[in-house]
Subunit: 346 residues, 2 copies
Amino acid sequence: MRLPSIPEFDKETAQKAADRQDKLTKPRGSLGVLEELSIRLAGIKGEEYPSLINKAVIVMAGDHGIALEGVSAYPAEVTPQMVLNFLKGGAAINVLSRQANARVVIVDIGVAYDFGEVPGLLNRKIAAGTRNMAIMPAMTREQAEQALQAGIDVINGEREKGLDIVATGEMGIGNTTPSSAITSIICGMPVKQVTGRGTGIDDSGLAHKISIIEKALSLHQPDPQDPIDVLSKVGGFEIAGLAGVIIGAAANRIPVVLDGFISSAAALIAAGLAPGIEYNLIASHQSVEIGHQVILQKLGLTPLFDLGLRLGEGSGAALAFPILDSAVRVLKEMATFADAGVTDKG
Amino acid sequence: MRLPSIPEFDKETAQKAADRQDKLTKPRGSLGVLEELSIRLAGIKGEEYPSLINKAVIVMAGDHGIALEGVSAYPAEVTPQMVLNFLKGGAAINVLSRQANARVVIVDIGVAYDFGEVPGLLNRKIAAGTRNMAIMPAMTREQAEQALQAGIDVINGEREKGLDIVATGEMGIGNTTPSSAITSIICGMPVKQVTGRGTGIDDSGLAHKISIIEKALSLHQPDPQDPIDVLSKVGGFEIAGLAGVIIGAAANRIPVVLDGFISSAAALIAAGLAPGIEYNLIASHQSVEIGHQVILQKLGLTPLFDLGLRLGEGSGAALAFPILDSAVRVLKEMATFADAGVTDKG
């Protein structure tokens, strides 16, 4: 497949933002990460005063054949149930997005349920769930490419409605399992060092989950140099779709706020397909899932906060939006030393 | 002086909030600190669905005689200049409060400048700055009590306008110096372990600052068991005023969001005067100032985030407001498993 090209970080505009930060009425650097974010966003967007008015959280939902192996604390029927909850506005991501003034875009990219025509649900279903990767590849190579393209198409559609920044979210019972598999392969780490309890399995459940992932990796031998091979053998449709969202956003200078472990596994795939894309990614939070920090380190990203979250849906990313709003408003709205008649440091 | 009494944490209402969190459509505990915050706020306010609509950041401004000793990177004239910047809306705290939908209350509690009548400035001036604590006590015991009372009065005035939650902020060139002195005495730590670079002094400036604080403490021998003795000998008017704000807020079940080092030094004084008040305090961020973590540990508080901030003004506390809003909205607005028809974990 042909991927869109990724523009370069706009160093000149970022430097203008940095110069302005140094003239604002505060000790230089005293707003720490807020200053850095405003400068990064200026460079990503190529705007001296980056605008973040139009925000969206794109939530991709998909099911996983591997759920049959008992890797999750919840049954697979929860995936479509939660999709319906999203559409009614009752899930955490709905509440957090209202607070953040972001719209929520729900995409069925591979749920094992026939929703029919449901208002508000984007139907981009590739298949009714992946296959059980403990036995066979999760999807075909063609399906992996279709899911990537679906993500790119979704971001292009949202861009036409107005989109200044996007957050990644997902729903899919069992999806920490493919995320751990992807992380293990691409980061070259043992499975047990990148596998956590997901929605809340116990010790024996965790040991079982690790052995299942090890079995799948041993069976399929995905090629870490070929992200689509990894996706198709041990990935998930929502992970592939989010990788497409991440690439499509970067192609359009739309910064991407990553949520937790699954979103970051998608970013690993995206970075494999489009090296250099990392500058366009903002890590919102440090998830409880132990594989998350391995990915963030690989991508060179530092999360903004750690609130002990392990929900997914885009919840941590939505929580980051007000911090990003604050960063760009400081850059635009604060007075300079000269304007305010405040004596600068000698 | 007589201090208002502090109500107890409402365990019963907190338990109701905890019970509801366990019924919402997410794995139990998966929203981590957000869940804990919503439960704490329910218990603080005695409201099953705590409301945080009316928010204020109270910024107390004062000058410090110790600034004459060259302990700050900025000259003392910056204190009144920044007060005027606050009143014009050009400072960081103005921008961050607009983003957080909080009003900013600016109080002159001891600036060494005659503002005359300025719209929007609350005049509660105790004196035109403290005295130089390297030579004499910073203030009289009576002045310390007046400043505490001024803080209590300010919070009562704001409460009458409607106030659901309050953040503490301050401005005062040189005020990390009294904050380090207070922290050293009350936490029983060597001065050099609780003294940082403030707005940005260099290595020799830092060594000088430490020696000045050591000199003042040696000269006055403040009694760590007597917070008003500590305040009067090595404190500051804005620190005393904020201690009053913190006590007055707790007396009225108004949760207090602490900013950084100076606000937390005020909380140390408040906790000394009103033991048990800690439950009413929410630590917003971990400041760059090294003494801050010592105070938070002493008060048993965990900050919500660390964004490398060292500005003061209430900036970190204002950034925490949207997180708190998110916490109470999750509690109130999310659907339960039963309502949404989502299968719960077995």
